[in-house]
């Protein structure tokens, strides 16, 4: 066998990245940031409020968490629904008790379908992050740019209509982008996006429609990733979050403020047998008195003034 000649050609083999979205940068050589009150760690909590239709609309792949069995997949649909009816309120109770504010990547359909849930979110002043129309509306390489622009527009308009303001942040459903997504988001006035997982701090990305800041939305410490995908128990979950906090706190003292992001999924962490782990994590880290609880917009405001 022989591979085509191009297989041994390396057109991007030069300093930095193999694309133009951001320059390479060493986290430990950057200007430091100081959080309000000189806290070492900014705590950023997201609670994903996602709507998975019973009728998955298949593109090249389904969003993780979407329907699994042949139609009608009641087991998956109702399990996701459990999160939006029950689990999320259990999470709110834990956060309320500690006076912590969250942000929520929200399917626009959630705002439209469940006004009581939206009111509970708004009563708590959570920041709403654009998260697509619903979990059928994913972005993927090769999709039509006009269709993608329409999906973004639809999600933002629907969220604005029901929440009263247009989100400035975005988290793509299924954490998936096309080659046009970032540019389209910038055109739609999005200030930060949560898709890329290559850093522990924010950094700026360049698109032809302007700058968009990457927020370090964790995948590694996501409750769904650890307890559903990898099958770990909640004991192990909380142990790892606390280990991350310890390291970030120590770097916060030596290298400037760090961010601990808690990515919460109501149908996962909101189960009765798991919720204790969230309570324990938050009680432990808040007892350090070295944490600034903040929304992504609050974090970015301070980070940009560094």
């Amino acid at each position: 066998m022989t591979l085509p000649e191009d297989y041994l050609k390396y057109p991007h083999r030069s300093h930095g990245m193999d694309h133009d979205l951001y320059p390479w940068s060493n986290l430990f050589n950057r200007p430091t940031v100081r959080w309000p009150g000189d806290k070492s760690v900014a705590l950023w909590i997201t609670v994903a409020l996602e709507y998975f239709p019973l009728t998955p609309n298949d593109g090249p792949f389904r969003a993780p968490g979407h329907m699994v069995t042949p139609y009608p997949d009641y087991r998956t649909y109702t399990t996701r629904d459990y999160g939006n009816r029950v689990g999320v309120f259990r999470i709110m109770k834990v956060l309320d008790a500690l006076g912590l504010k969250a942000s929520t990547p929200m399917s626009a359909k959630i705002a439209e379908r469940y006004p009581a849930l939206l009111k509970a979110v708004q009563d708590r002043d959570w920041e709403v992050i654009g998260h697509g129309v619903d979990m059928n509306h994913i972005h993927y390489g090769g999709m039509d740019a006009a269709q993608e622009a329409q999906q973004i527009e639809d999600a933002l308009v629907m969220l604005e209509k029901h929440t009263g303001s247009k989100p400035v942040g975005w988290f793509s459903p299924a954490r998936s982008e096309s080659e046009n997504t970032l540019e389209l988001l910038a055109e739609h006035g999005i200030d930060y996006a949560c898709d890329w997982v290559n850093d522990d701090m924010p950094y700026d990305m360049t698109t032809s429609a302007g700058t968009i800041t990457a927020m370090p939305h964790t995948m590694e410490l996501d409750d769904r990733q650890l307890m559903v995908t990898l099958g770990q128990n909640e004991e192990t979950y909380q142990e790892q979050i606390l280990a991350a906090f310890d390291l970030l706190r120590s770097e916060g003292k030596s290298h400037g403020g760090r961010i601990l992001h808690l990515s919460l999924t109501p149908y996962v962490i909101g189960q009765p047998f798991r919720i204790w782990a969230l309570r324990k994590v938050l009680e432990t880290i808040m007892a350090s008195n070295d944490v600034w609880s903040a929304t992504p917009s609050e974090i970015l405001k301070v980070w940009r003034g560094k």
Partner: protein, 307 residues
């Protein structure tokens, strides 16, 4: 296609010539950080897809980029603290993309060996000349960047051809990390007759397997590495063993994993009388000069006995 790889004969883990590492040590311990570059849009290989989703599959791409921006620097500092020099399994294009990392490692006298050009360029389907070009490129690139002549190899993304092992010997490599049949080094059969050592590397204790295949936590991984060491130390009294910890900064370098991993380095390097904290090239060099010939005789005797 061959029924078996034909790179080595069966050689049971009993009654082998005794290996004693320098200073009378029982375990040769080395750490292999894989320092890799994955391309966002690599050309397609007919036998293996680079990314599961259509281009641009940003999640797995950026997940790996984390190692070069964040994790590497944490891991390097921790290894410094315990006096462990890395033997780097290197995507050699890193010499062009991120020379800052290469310079930091070279200044610490870490060893570099080739892990291909990019970890998104697979060897499957290459003809002899193409695979030779990968080795020539690797040798030249690392030599230009660091002055080191590489002597070791781990195929990019563990993709091989039937020629790989022979080509390594022909290009004066000393060792290959590609074969996982043993916890001790051993001679490999090569067409040229040139000496080549199979270097224990271990997939089972690779952080990728621990975290993303077996779903282990940072604590479980730290515990299994200590148990791996305990057994190899016990057996090393009979005949020297090799323990390698293969790592990826984008995995071990995450905030929640560094603390437990620190305990592992502390534990292993704390066994000062028994552990040779070293690099793969030093193990290969010692083995070639002190153990290779005895091993060959023992393997030949085992073959004669079997037939």
């Amino acid at each position: 296609m061959k029924y078996d790889p034909e790179h080595y004969d069966y050689w049971p883990y009993q009654n082998r010539p005794k290996i004693v590492w320098p200073g009378g040590k029982k375990v040769a311990f080395w750490v292999a950080p894989n320092i890799e570059f994955y391309e966002l849009n690599p050309p397609a290989n007919p036998q293996r897809k680079s990314w599961p989703r259509p281009y641009p599959d940003i999640t797995p791409y950026s997940y790996r980029d984390h190692g070069n921006r964040v994790g590497h620097w944490r891991l390097m500092e921790m290894m410094d603290e315990f006096g462990v020099r890395g033997s780097i399994s290197l995507s050699v294009a890193m010499c062009q993309h991120h020379p800052e990392i290469i310079e930091a490692c070279a200044a610490r006298k870490w060893e570099f060996f080739s892990h291909g050009i990019y970890n998104t360029r697979y060897i499957y389907g290459m003809d002899h000349a193409q695979e030779q070009a990968i080795l020539t490129d690797s040798i030249k690139t690392v030599e230009t960047a660091t002055g080191q002549r590489i002597r070791g190899y781990l195929a990019p993304a563990l993709t091989h051809t039937e020629h790989t092992i022979d080509l390594l010997a022909e290009n004066d490599f000393w060792y290959s990390c590609d074969l996982f049949q043993d916890d001790q080094p051993q001679p490999l059969k090569t067409k040229s007759g040139k000496k080549l050592v199979s270097m224990p590397y271990s997939l089972e204790v690779n952080d990728h397997y621990a975290f993303n295949v077996y779903g282990q936590s940072a604590r479980q991984y730290a515990d299994l590495l200590k148990r791996q060491f305990d057994t190899l130390l016990e057996e090393g009294a009979e005949s020297g063993t090799v323990m390698c910890i293969p790592l990826h900064a984008y995995l071990i370098g995450r905030a929640h994993r560094m603390g437990p991993f620190r305990e592992v380095l502390d534990y292993i390097t704390g066994h000062k009388d028994d552990v040779w904290v070293t690099t793969a090239i030093e193990i290969a060099d010692y083995y070639l000069n002190n153990c290779y010939d005895d091993a060959l005789k023992s393997i030949e005797a085992a073959q004669r006995e079997a037939s």
